[in-house]
Every structure is written in C-alpha cells, then in structure tokens.
Symmetry: C2
Subunit: 214 residues, 2 copies
C-alpha cells in the first residue's frame, strides 16, 4: 500500500522514466477491471504503478482520459461531447449522428469499441465499468449540454438511439442499414436525436402537465 | 447422413416417442450453432434427431418457431410482429414500444434473450445465427407490414431504436432510463418508431425527390 515499500516486484518509487507511462497504463487497466470506473482513483493507479500521482496527471490528465487511453478507446467521449454541443443544441442531432457515423465507419475506430462491448457482454465487471463510464462521463456530458430538469432522461434517450444504430449497423450488420450511405442515415436518425435533445417528449394530445416524474 | 444408417449412438429411425421432442430440440440447437439459421433445414434437424421430418413439423411447425423454441426465446418475433401490425400502421409505434417494454420488463422474458445476446457478442457463429434470424424473420415480418419500397430500411430503423432501448434500459441499465416508468418511455420513443414506420425519412427542407436509393 505504501508507495515507497519494497516488494518482490519493485524496490522503490521510480522516477518518470520512459516506461513509467506503460506501467501506469497497465496499473490503470488492472484497477478499472478490479474496481470498476468509479472505484478507480488516480492515486490508486499511481500506487499500482509505483509512481507519483502527479506523473499520472502529467501523462494522462483526468480519470476519463486515463480510462480512454488505458482501454484504447479511439476517442474520449467526455471530451468530444462538449465539442459537439459547443455551438448550441440547434442541429445537434445532425452533428451527433454525422460525427459518430464518420468515426464508426472507420474500422480503426470501431475495433477497440467492439472489443469493449464484447467484454461487457460476457463479464459483469466489464459491464459495470462501461456502465459507470457511460453514466458518469458520457451521459453527464450530454445532459450538461441540454437544458431542463429532464436533461438526464433526454441524454439517455439520445444514447439509446446511437447505441441501437451501432448495434444494428456494425454489430449485427442488419441490412439495408449496414450498407446504407451515411447521408441516408443522418437524414433518417438526426430528427430522432434532435427531438430527444430538444423536442417534446410527452404526447401533446395527452394534455399531460410536464415531464416531471412522480 | 442416411437416416436409417446404424451408428454408435442410434440403431435406426425411431417412432415419435415422448423423448423425440427433446432429441429434435437437441439436434436443432446443434444445427443452428454449426450451420447458422439459414444453413439449418427441418430435414437436416430430423436427420440429426433420427426422426421423420413430418414429426419436426408436427411438434414445432416452421423453422422460425423451431428456432424460438430451441433457443428458449420467450416468444417468436416472426409470429408476434404480424399481430402487432394486424390493425394497420396507425399508432403502431405506441403498440410496438408498449408491447416490448411490457415483455422486457419481465425477467423470465428477458433472461433467455440476454443469454442469446451474450453468446452473440462473444461467438461469431452465434452472431451470424442471430443476424440471419433477425434479418430473415423479424425484419422481413416488419418490412412486410410496412408499405413502400423503403420498407426494409424502415424496418431496420425500427429495430435500431428497439435494440438501443433494450441495451440502454436492460443491458447497461443507464439511468434514468433504466428505472423510468414504461408510460414515460412509450411517450418518448413511440413517435420515433412511428416515424420510422410511416413518416418522412428524408429532410423535407432538402427538396430531395424521394427515398429511392441510388
């Protein structure tokens, strides 16, 4: 537990040499797998890698960036989402669907995500880790960019359509969706995402008061 | 290969005794796993179970029903979908979302589906089998109930939203979607499914001619 303790593996805290970065990534992967996303701390990873926490921050910044790098995610959703919302919520449906299709259509982008999903489907620990990351980083970023008290539900609905599109197009390769041109899918799906982000969620005819949950 | 051949396991085609049903299911599971959905035939399953093909039809009807029973699916989508569309496409979004939420919310219904999805995520053979069944039976049933030449794309879009809802609510249990009341989700998601089934898929402002693919 003490970072300066001698162990059979290590003889003391080492300076930030070139392989410290790899040691940190290895310790991060072990911690995310063992303790999940929420249970992992920069301090704990530093201890596992036998380095100073400042070095982890220096190399990787925040925990979500460390997670994205350790799991070889091709991007950090917690950074990308605010960018996609940076020019407001008008046309955000089109921006989101266009952006993710352009990335997903690249195998180099898709393969690490598919590995993560496969892992989550077969290991409850990996599923919990992915759930915590999506809930804590991705959806909170989306919700933070959407106005209103129902923003968390709106963010989760946006996620549901984007995840289902990925499952159908890339996972199960359902035709004709799998080989449809991106423009066709953007035209079809962007209005859904736009409505989830900014439109009416309750049926207008129902004369229900608001989206407040009871 | 010859159904009357003697083998180390069997000594000849047996009459339809009570355990023939279990033999058929075992042979069907083996065939779906080895040859996929499309590569499996009633005749081949009968051969594997050492029974007459008529007995397979007698017990299970068609191949999609045999698939649903062999994989312990809680319902046969190829039967349910036409029922949901039987009163037309008006309000079909609400009917579809209500029906599937009511089923998915029951663990007895959900668990065999989750087992199938887990299997598909980790084994390419299982993924191919699920893909063929969804494409060949589920989506063709939905497409058959929708008018127009873009019906297959519409069916796949409906599938994408329903699959994404299942992933978010039951797979990853993303909040607040996971604990939202079904009525809230029906109100939020039914218009999406309705638009995919019957609405405009291309942006009206774009002045594009029609949904014909190039």
């Amino acid at each position: 537990m003490d970072a300066t303790s001698t162990s059979t593996r290590r003889t003391g805290r080492r300076p930030g040499r070139s392989h410290a970065r790899e040691d940190i990534l290895r310790a991060a992967r072990a911690s995310f797998a063992a303790h999940g996303y929420e249970g992992t701390t920069i301090r704990g990873v530093a201890r596992g890698a036998d380095v100073d926490p400042a070095l982890v921050h220096h190399y990787f910044g925040t925990k979500d960036a460390l997670f994205a790098t350790a799991l070889e995610l091709p991007l950090n959703p917690a950074e990308v989402v605010p960018e996609l919302f940076s020019s407001g919520t008008e046309d955000v449906g089109e921006r989101l669907v266009s952006f993710f299709l352009s990335r997903w259509d690249s195998p180099a982008f898709r393969q690490p995500l598919e590995a993560l999903v496969r892992s989550a489907a077969s290991h409850e620990e990996a599923a919990a880790m992915l759930r915590e990351f999506i809930g804590g980083e991705v959806l909170s970023a989306v919700a933070g960019a959407i106005d209103g008290e129902d923003a968390p539900l709106r963010a989760a609905l946006v996620f549901s359509q984007m995840a289902g599109l990925a499952v159908a197009r890339y996972g199960l390769r359902v035709e004709p969706l799998a080989s449809a041109e991106p423009e066709v899918l953007v035209a079809a799906v962007a209005p859904t995402v736009q409505r989830y982000a900014t439109g009416d969620l309750l049926p207008s005819e129902g004369a229900r008061p608001s989206a407040r949950s009871g």
